[in-house]
Symmetry: none
Subunit: 409 residues, 2 copies
């Protein structure tokens, strides 16, 4: 792969607006490992005439979302494909949690991940998850905590699942440079939230005041859920200052994703999130409806990853077939550049995200088609791109859409 | 190869302790070039059923220890495989010489490479190697020089082969930032040792005082070896501050190497050096004895490199066959991750280290086995890793041993 990457400053100068369309289909966790009995991966086991048809006219390869051996979480996996160095542009736990419940953060908002927990009379943590209270009870408690008022900031609490919530602190001049209160183990008391830099002193006071009031409310009779008598806070963070796809590539971009976290990641890089129904067919209908209005579309398909994480090889194969089945609707549009890949591998045999490189293909009038005739891990290894870094995808997409000027004279 | 490498700070957070075992077999200088008559390399000429058997279930590739066209010395070649950027973590000549005679340096010790040489009456160098005096005479002279006493530091002299020795200066607050006294050519006088920074003034005084006293002793009647009447010093250096494999990867690691330099390099990165007999069979017996006590084993096989440097193609082929023959003893242990590679190529046709990339294979339950069925330069080129950088090996080993958490959420 290329040793030297063109930075965003150069890319801003090289990119130009044009009517061509780029569609990026991310099949989450699509890469897999051979089934111990058949020796074939999920992709190799699936009937996928449309993916294979695309492969025949494409430039293929295998991407490393981060680097050799490193298993990507969903956020770095997507950011890399969107062109951002996933190590440089890291996303804090609190922000990620907020994205996951479809919250639209403002640039100055501080988000933190909260757990309801149980402490004993001495204040020592006995259960970091409050006995995994129900999501309904969580919603009641969050409603209660939303009565908290702290001077100098607006604090709000949004329920996630079971014992999890998101705290948002909105106020002027607050820094997210705060340590966790969660000691990550039972038998200890929650820690006071410490400012990690002088600018964060005010935010620390506000966060500690929130925790104090939360403790009072949760142990009061109003709350009445004894196992959830305290909160643990971690991952204080703010939206990373990330240049948008529009700034870098002059792209008007849109996301068609069902799950909140992926919609949040898309917003983070400046995409507009389009309304869509739940299935890939609905998503591609949305693509058709909005096709005239954007230059770049990110379509996210989730269930390949979910079935991989379940360890259900057959179900992951069926999920691949489901995407494949929907593809004629995408091919109808004949986008100038069509990219199909995944944000990481999720082999059903491992039942988790993995470090294995991910099949990739790019079809355009101007790509150099290689000899690959099948969309799979093994076949893509022989592709024209070989093995390469995911951050190279956006420049390739732009080039094939003829949206990049030449570098130097 | 990967664009973004995960730094040690990230790796420290991602790595976790687990019972899985990693075995790294380095066949020194294993890569070669085709024999002009047969067109086959040393690996392609050898009968090596066990190496080929491993290749069949492995992820294969070709490593560049440093980068295209750069021929690695043994130290950078090994450091890269151990995961250290060989350009950033460079090892001074003096330290390397000390490692080569199995000296255990302290972090503050300054080591320098010394040559006995011949100077004429005017002090001009006439032979930089003192007529390559015998190793026995060298030992006598070093014994004599060990009578030297300098105020402010303990100096000691250790014989290497022929005209070579190591000088160790041990004292408080000494800096190794010193220029060589060796002008690297005859017809000039040895240079006074210059401090290259103000902090090195004291060390320069000590080094010059050592040279002065050495000159006096060597020209005296006690020495009585007229060709060795002066010393030339170069490569003043200290152990590099190198984080250990235990700090970075939480690995308890051990080395099974016969030659002192490789034991020294292993110690440098925090490995425990295990006792072993001289043959690869003895080394693998040592591996068996200590298998329960460590997570990571580095086994070093030397004679492939030595025979390559001799320019003896047939002998290098036999050395490869010797390793191959021993492998069932290694495979018996069925390590969770087995890696076989070399620190550089040493083609017998060139009779020296070379820049050619080196065959690599990694076998584990979780590797993606590729279509390679033979362990050789040509076959590994088609491997799943393609051509890649040696510093990617450690993250891959860790991932395949399931010793890494995912990066980001």
């Amino acid at each position: 792969m290329a040793n030297t990457m063109i930075g965003f400053e150069h890319m801003k100068k090289l990119s130009r607006k044009s009517p061509s369309k780029i569609v990026l289909l991310i099949i989450d966790g699509v890469g897999g490992l051979p089934h111990p009995e058949t020796g074939k991966t999920e992709l190799e086991s699936a009937k996928k005439p449309n993916l294979d048809y695309i492969a025949k006219g494409s430039l293929c390869g295998l991407i490393d979302p981060i680097s050799s051996g490193i298993t990507p979480g969903s956020a770095p996996g997507h950011l890399a494909i969107f062109g951002y160095d996933p190590v440089k542009y890291s996303i804090g736990r609190g922000v990620l949690e907020a994205l996951g419940v479809d919250l639209e953060l403002k640039p100055e908002d501080i988000a933190a991940r909260g757990n309801f927990c149980t402490v004993d009379d001495k204040g020592t943590i006995t259960d970091r998850r409050a006995g995994r209270i129900s999501t309904e009870k969580n919603a009641q408690l969050c409603q209660l905590l939303n009565n908290i008022s702290v001077s100098g900031a607006e604090v709000s609490v949004i329920p996630v699942k079971e014992h999890r919530f998101v705290l948002i602190m909105r106020g002027e001049g607050l820094s997210p440079d705060l340590a966790d209160s969660d000691p990550q183990q039972v038998g200890l008391a929650p820690k006071k939230i410490q400012a990690l830099s002088p600018q964060a002193e005010r935010a620390a006071e506000i966060a500690n005041e929130f925790v104090l009031q939360a403790r009072r409310l949760l142990r009061s009779r109003v709350a009445n859920i004894p196992s959830a008598n305290m909160v643990l806070m971690r991952g204080f963070s703010r939206l990373p200052g990330i240049p948008s796809l529009s700034e870098i590539y002059k792209l008007k971009s849109a996301a068609i994703a069902v799950y909140p976290m992926y919609r949040g990641l898309a917003r983070l890089v400046g995409m507009e999130v389009l309304p869509t129904g739940d299935s890939i067919t609905h998503q591609l209908e949305s693509l058709h409806r909005h096709y005239a209005d954007f230059d770049f579309f990110f379509v996210h398909f989730k269930s390949t990853d979910s079935r991989g994480e379940d360890g259900n090889f057959e179900a992951k194969v069926r999920a691949i077939e489901e995407v494949d089945n929907s593809l004629p609707k995408l091919l109808d549009l004949n986008p100038d550049v069509l990219i199909v890949t995944g944000d990481h591998s999720t082999p059903a045999t491992l039942a988790m995200h993995s470090w294995h490189p991910v099949p990739f293909m790019l079809k355009s009038k101007w790509c150099f088609p290689d000899s690959v005739t099948e969309f799979s891990e093994r076949a893509c290894l022989d592709g024209g791109m070989g093995r390469f870094s995911a951050v190279e995808i956006m420049p390739l997409a732009m080039a094939n859409a003829l949206k990049l000027e030449k570098f130097g004279a």
